[in-house]
């Protein structure tokens, strides 16, 4: 498509999304009020109002809002492309995602029928009152969750990814031996080290990184309140004291009164209704975050965020560019009638085992529940959803798995071969790290440095690179092992690793 036409379409799309938003009305109000000022003249009204908005910082806020829209925007549509093509262009992947979703939904429905727990029911008044009182200490509740089990675990999802095949792919000949070494059999385009070196040039061994070279100059980027500048800055890591503000700036997660009100509405929803997925969330938090040395203190925060997240219908918007489709349940007797369809859970996301680990590291940065909630929601609809849906996107979990395998095969072929000899597939060891973006495996300060780069480069690729770098670091030990159990033991504890030196050495010091 012509570039000029594409640009005007993009602009029209963004204007449509921002028109009528709270920011729009705020800027209009500011523009009206500035007319009182003596330096705003009628002859040059337009320019004077514009320069007022610039100096008072409102233009910057608008720029940040536009920048945020660019991140989640759909590519301009060729007229014949149907909406599902924008979610995922490859037909066989859409089919695989649809059948995976059916399985998950079936599991949820059978749990509901077996345990005789309805998908949703209204809480009795006494229970509502109790919950309101205990809102800040839900962790003290010890409900009986033994009957509940997670809907699926990452390893179930891995089996689906391994089984993906392109029906048009010719695998009759051994045309690509490498693809038969690894588990992922889908020919996606993933970047190798020379391309990665170009793309991640800020991570070069010669540039200072936060956390290693802390005498690096600190730019007063936060003062300027510019999302794009903050994102660029974050590529070399954020200083601990500024990280919370920088991340909120990059994600444009401003904690405006309407955001606080939205959170309060969600909280009211939690108190009124009890959903089956609430029990899944409780179970997940108890099994994962509560058992973790770093995150058990934040148990209450996790409930406050995740229970509200399940009820937030604003999350449904991200399904336009997510290959997944939210599960729908129909009013009895009216299956198929779209008007009687209700998305379940209201945000369309069914939590799986380990889901709460996406939120846990953020608790170190934000202690105000509505701010924490906003930042988490924005991070989910930009990055985390790609880690548990089948898609051909370069940041999707499938591309990350393939990239990990390819990097290992290309640069550590002996290690890969040795592991295959003893019956170990490296992806089975690394998958659980990548699905959680290393949350719960690295120590928190290192994890936050990794997530700095995810935000800075707007891509999850760095997660795959780190996984390969960890294998490279422990290669000597792994070459000695002779069984799956001992390989797992070598890679069991990552809490002592320093993330940035590993990535830097792997990308820039590997012999080509």
């Amino acid at each position: 498509m012509d570039e000029g036409i594409e640009l005007s379409l993009t602009i029209a799309q963004i204007i449509q999304r921002l028109r009528g938003s709270h920011l729009h009305s705020q800027i209009e109000r500011q523009a009206k009020e500035c007319l009182h000022q003596p330096d705003v003249k009628l002859e040059s009204l337009k320019e004077d109002v514009r320069s007022f908005l610039k100096t008072s910082g409102w233009e910057r806020k608008l720029q940040n809002a536009v920048y945020r829209e660019l991140h989640i925007q759909l590519p301009p549509r060729h007229p014949p492309a149907p909406p599902e093509h924008l979610k995922e262009p490859l037909v066989y992947m859409r089919k695989a995602q649809a059948s995976w979703e059916k399985r998950v939904l079936k599991s949820l429905n059978s749990m509901s029928t077996e345990l005789l727990v309805p998908l949703a029911h209204m809480r009795p008044a006494a229970e509502q009152k109790e919950l309101t009182n205990k809102w800040n200490e839900m962790g003290t509740d010890e409900p009986d969750l033994s009957r509940f089990r997670p809907v699926y675990a990452p390893k179930d999802f891995l089996e689906v990814l391994i089984g993906l095949r392109n029906p048009n792919h010719d695998s009759s000949e051994d045309i690509s031996v490498r693809s038969h070494w690894g588990l992922i059999q889908v020919p996606l385009n993933v970047r190798d080290i020379p391309h990665l070196r170009e793309a991640y040039s800020e991570l070069n061994l010669t540039s200072g990184q936060m956390g290693i070279d802390d005498h690096a100059l600190i730019h007063p980027v936060v003062m300027e309140e510019d999302s794009a500048a903050a994102q660029q800055y974050s590529r070399q890591g954020c200083p601990t004291g500024l990280r919370a503000d920088l991340w909120a700036l990059i994600l444009n997660a401003t904690n405006q009164p309407q955001d606080v009100m939205h959170y309060e509405q969600l909280k009211a929803g939690v108190i009124q209704h009890n959903l089956l997925v609430d029990n899944l969330i409780y179970k997940d938090v108890k099994l994962t975050a509560s058992n973790d040395d770093y995150y058990f203190v934040f148990e209450d925060f996790l409930y406050q965020v995740l229970l509200c997240f399940s009820r937030d219908t604003a999350v449904l918007e991200h399904f336009k560019y997510n290959s997944a489709t939210p599960p729908k349940s129909y009013i009895q007797g009216k299956v198929g009638d779209e008007e009687c369809a209700v998305v379940y859970p209201p945000n369309g996301v069914i939590p799986f085992h380990g889901f709460s680990m996406y939120v846990a590291p953020l608790c170190f940065l934000y202690n105000e529940p509505s701010k924490l909630y906003n930042v988490f929601r924005e991070m989910y609809i930009r990055y985390f959803f790609r880690l548990h849906s089948i898609s051909s996107h370069p940041s999707g979990i499938l591309s990350l798995c393939l990239q990990f395998e390819r990097l290992l095969q290309t640069h550590l072929p002996q290690l890969f071969y040795h592991l295959r000899q003893i019956g170990v597939q490296p992806l089975r060891l690394a998958f659980k790290w990548m699905v959680r973006a290393f949350s719960g495996y690295l120590s928190t300060d290192q994890l936050l440095l990794l997530w700095d780069r995810i935000l800075g480069y707007d891509s999850l690729e760095v997660v795959a690179v780190l996984a390969a770098a960890v294998f490279a670091f422990r290669a000597e030990n792994l070459m000695e092992v002779t069984s799956l159990a001992s390989a797992e033991a070598v890679l069991a504890d990552l809490s002592t690793l320093k993330v940035m030196p590993l990535i830097q050495v792997f990308l820039f010091a590997t012999a080509m």
Binding site: A81, N168, E173, N189
Partner: protein, 230 residues
């Protein structure tokens, strides 16, 4: 965009079955040469001026479009020309990027003017052995439509509307300065409204009880103005 495909309908044409070129004996092992030719026969006797060609890709790496054009004025035979040569549809022929995407080739992207086209030939290439088959689906050709003649009428109408002419303002102040000073006065009244005091301005009391035939201030006051008393 002139002639947007939203309102124009694609041209009806017949697409012949794609012919995959073989190397050597047709009956022997089908060694795919990676080249396929799709002929598009436009309706006989009605040459088309092409606006754009849209299609959905299915694992084709490069496409070349050749057009058979017949100039209606000259009696010369129709000639083949290349409109687009080796347009890449997939970033990497071995991987999935772009393999099932929708594409549009607009007439501005073509090397020749796609007018009076009788027949089009799409030459598809897929050099990679990774794929079992490759083709293009849903090929549509949209004709070039001339801009609406109605637009010419509106041009003519706009000539009739009076252009903004500055009226003769001899002796009168410049309207721009007047309006800007009005703006300042308005701002002043706004300020005054917010700073209203209860102290009164000294004026004569106009009371209805005056019965003496003085020059009644009623007349001058009731002239639309407010009564100010102390």
């Amino acid at each position: 965009m002139s002639g947007t495909p939203d309102d124009t309908k694609p041209v009806n044409f017949t697409v012949k079955a794609p012919v995959y070129l073989q190397i050597g004996d047709a009956k022997a092992d089908t060694a795919h040469s990676g080249v396929c030719v799709v002929d598009v026969n436009l309706p006989f006797g009605k040459p088309v001026n092409i606006e754009e060609v849209t299609f959905k890709n299915y694992y084709t790496a490069y496409v070349t479009v050749r057009l058979l054009r017949r100039n209606p004025e000259q009696e010369a035979p129709a000639k083949w020309c290349t409109a687009v040569r080796d347009l890449p549809l997939m970033d990497n022929p071995h991987t999935e990027g772009g393999s099932q995407d929708y594409y549009t080739i607009h007439r501005t992207q073509m090397q020749v003017e796609p007018d009076h086209v009788v027949c089009a030939r799409l030459i598809l290439r897929q050099p990679s052995l990774a794929w079992l088959t490759f083709s293009l689906e849903d090929i549509k050709i949209f004709p070039h439509t001339e801009p609406d003649p109605e637009k010419e009428v509106s041009d003519w109408l706009s000539d009739l509307t009076l252009t903004d002419q500055h009226p003769d303002l001899e002796g009168l102040p410049d309207p721009q300065t007047v309006s800007s000073s009005i703006q300042q006065m308005w701002a002043l009244t706004e300020v005054m409204q917010t700073n209203q005091t209860t102290a009164s301005i000294g004026r004569f009391d106009v009371s209805e009880t005056h019965s003496q035939p003085h020059l009644s201030c009623n007349e001058c006051v009731h002239d639309g103005g407010d009564v100010i008393t102390f």
